[in-house]
């Protein structure tokens, strides 16, 4: 993947520094013009820790100047996310309260729109945006694994092993999406559509990396995972039915039908054997589990609101 296009003064300065390797001037980098400018900058800085960019030297992954810019943007983003938080449930009876918290959260549904009304063009646009996450599906949770106790670590691996196809690349979830994209006439290349990604997609992806890459936020990462899995099965079925209605290829439909079944397992594991076990060991992390969970729900809502408004749906 090549570096994305800049979206303002900050991303322009940081991306130039990344491409040239001349990062010493970044202490005086301009502030971000907009939230989008800040988020695309943060996204590119995080991407260095995933697959990286062909036009950026690998040594810059840990460049102190770039890490400094990342820290500033992360702190600001974490404050924004925390300011959005509602009150969280009491800590007793965690699993049932968590499922209730997710069930009681009402948000706009993109899957319901795809199910009945969306046009083929709208679904193509949605799938292009979804590539930003689905082509590295589950990777943000993998960052957390070495930061956990034996019991919680094994529980996360039990779920991740399924995400990664049980070791078979043909069944790896991100690869199922690649096949669906290919057959749908979309570009399956990693990062191909980053310049189209709206603010809300960048925020969602950055929240996953923020939680995954900071050990102190490990509970938020696992809470994000639990809420994400607990809101996946039913919408995935609606997506599959909508794609069928529009005549999408079987492989794209299969990506979503696989998630109906897989995520009905994963939500139980994520809530009970992962977050539940984590909180038995470290009860003080309770609110951070909900911080991650609410962020997952709220960021999905924000994206859905943008797209449904844009499509006047």
């Amino acid at each position: 993947m090549l570096m994305p296009e800049s979206r303002g003064s900050l991303s322009e300065a940081v991306f130039r520094a990344m491409r040239t390797g001349e990062t010493s001037g970044l202490a005086e980098a301009p502030p971000s013009d907009t939230a989008e400018d800040a988020q695309v900058t943060l996204w590119a800085l995080y991407e260095q820790h995933y697959r990286g960019f062909e036009d950026v030297a690998g040594e810059l992954e840990w460049d102190p100047q770039l890490i400094g810019v990342r820290r500033g943007l992360e702190q600001e983003f974490e404050r924004t996310l925390r300011d959005r938080m509602p009150e969280v449930p009491e800590p007793d009876g965690f699993a049932e309260k968590f499922f209730d918290f997710v069930a009681d959260h009402d948000g706009p549904s993109l899957a319901a729109h795809v199910h009945r009304k969306a046009t083929e063009d709208q679904v193509h646009e949605l799938l292009r945006h979804r590539t930003i996450y689905h082509l590295k599906e589950a990777d943000h949770t993998t960052w957390v694994i070495p930061r956990l106790s034996d019991r919680v670590k094994a529980a996360v691996m039990e779920l991740q092993f399924d995400e990664y196809g049980g070791g078979d690349p043909n069944l790896l979830h991100a690869h199922l999406f690649v096949r669906g994209l290919q057959d749908s006439g979309l570009n399956p290349e990693y990062g191909a559509y980053i310049n189209e990604a709206p603010l809300e997609v960048l925020e969602e992806n950055n929240a996953m990396s923020l939680f995954g890459l900071n050990r102190r936020l490990r509970a938020a990462s696992l809470g994000f995972l639990a809420a994400f899995e607990a809101t996946s099965s039913a919408p995935s079925r609606l997506m599959a039915q909508g794609l069928k209605r529009l005549g999408f290829p079987e492989s794209m439909i299969e990506y979503y039908t696989e998630h109906v079944e897989a995520d009905a397992v994963h939500e139980q594991l994520a809530v009970r054997t992962i977050c539940g076990a984590l909180l038995e060991e470290e009860p003080e992390l309770h609110d951070d589990v909900y911080f991650g969970a609410f962020s997952a729900l709220d960021l999905a809502d924000r994206y859905a609101e943008r797209m449904l408004t844009r499509w006047a749906a």
Binding site: A95, E96, F99, A103, D150, R151, A154, E158, L159, F161, D162, G166, S233, A234, R237, V260, E261, A262, D263, A264, V265, E267, Q268, L269, R272, E280
Partner: protein, 71 residues
């Protein structure tokens, strides 16, 4: 073989989730209500217990909808 003495590390083959599915760890063959056999293939599979799943014998999360309606 699980747990090895430490109760917090129990790793049962079958887990009944309150108000939810039955989790099966490992390889099993599940016979559905019509006598058809379904082999598990995931590390963990979830078998429907509420009777309302559209992908039986597997769980599809529909129990949550039923639960919400009755509370």
């Amino acid at each position: 073989m699980s747990g090895a003495g430490d109760p917090s590390l129990d790793h049962p083959d079958v887990v009944l989730c309150p108000g939810g599915p039955m989790l099966l760890r490992g390889d099993h063959v599940v016979e559905d209500e019509d006598g058809n056999e379904h082999r598990t293939w995931r590390p963990v599979s979830a078998v429907c217990r509420c009777g309302a799943s559209a992908v039986k014998p597997w769980c599809d999360g529909t129990h949550k909808v039923l639960r919400k309606r009755t509370t």
